[in-house]
Subunit: 148 residues, 2 copies
């Protein structure tokens, strides 16, 4: 293995560690302050960004999780009254999902706090630096996704 591969490997390990560190803290907060989990929050956030709603498979693609996984999470969110589920375009295969009124309200409260937590956690990252890093991670994502 050449030296470049070591450097890339290190990048991947750091990426994973940094992400996990933040993830652990966000999970904890979501649980303690909202009785929520990260996957549930992610689903609500993705729906909130989608305006109209999404079919399940679109949701699973955006979240990068399996379809089977989403079935369960969405089941529970629906049971809790946070999302609505209906058919789309008369296609009887699809499950079109959107935020309920309550889901919208609940999400907005969580999202505002979530933004605050991240702002606190990353307080020492200058805006410019954050911008730069974001751009690079975006590029990185694009490259990774180009591989199949």
């Amino acid at each position: 293995m050449n030296a470049e591969s070591k450097v890339r490997l290190r990048l991947w390990l750091r990426l994973l560690r940094a992400t996990r560190a933040i993830e652990v803290r966000v999970r904890e907060r979501l649980r303690v302050e909202h009785g929520a989990t990260l996957p549930r929050f992610d689903v609500l956030a993705t729906l909130a960004r989608a305006e109209e709603g999404l079919i399940l498979s679109e949701l699973s693609e955006r979240l990068m999780v399996s379809n089977g996984n989403l079935t369960g999470i969405v089941d529970r969110l629906e049971a809790d009254g946070l999302i609505d589920r209906r058919r789309r375009n008369g296609d009887r295969r699809t499950s079109f999902v959107s935020l309920s009124e309550e889901g919208q309200a609940v999400f907005e409260r969580m999202a505002a706090e979530h933004e605050r937590w991240i702002d606190e956690l990353l307080a020492d990252v200058e805006a410019e630096e954050a911008e730069r890093l974001s751009t690079r991670l975006d590029g990185l994502l694009a490259q990774v996704e180009a591989h199949s």
Copy 2:
């Protein structure tokens, strides 16, 4: 919420997406080519780096997962003969864990491929760029960990 917090939020979201994208691909490869999972690989990798071995709680801290979680993973790795478990310093509370000979061999094979996969996935990231990003993520991790 001010503009800076939006930028930081975006950074976090990008971090998460990039990490997940890589993670999904690594998981798939580990499964298909080695019948392994990421958590198992992570445990082996951490032990391989530790030379002597580690007690469970040290392992859980490094991996940023709960103690209860590790019990199960380590149970299965032990059952598969990849790791050894014994007492340390006569302390009968601790579970001191290390790679078995087979575990060492299995890990080395996986690690070499893992490095290759990452090298392929991140092929378009220049070494210098990777270096820079790593350093920044390291700083970011330190800042996050400073928050409790």
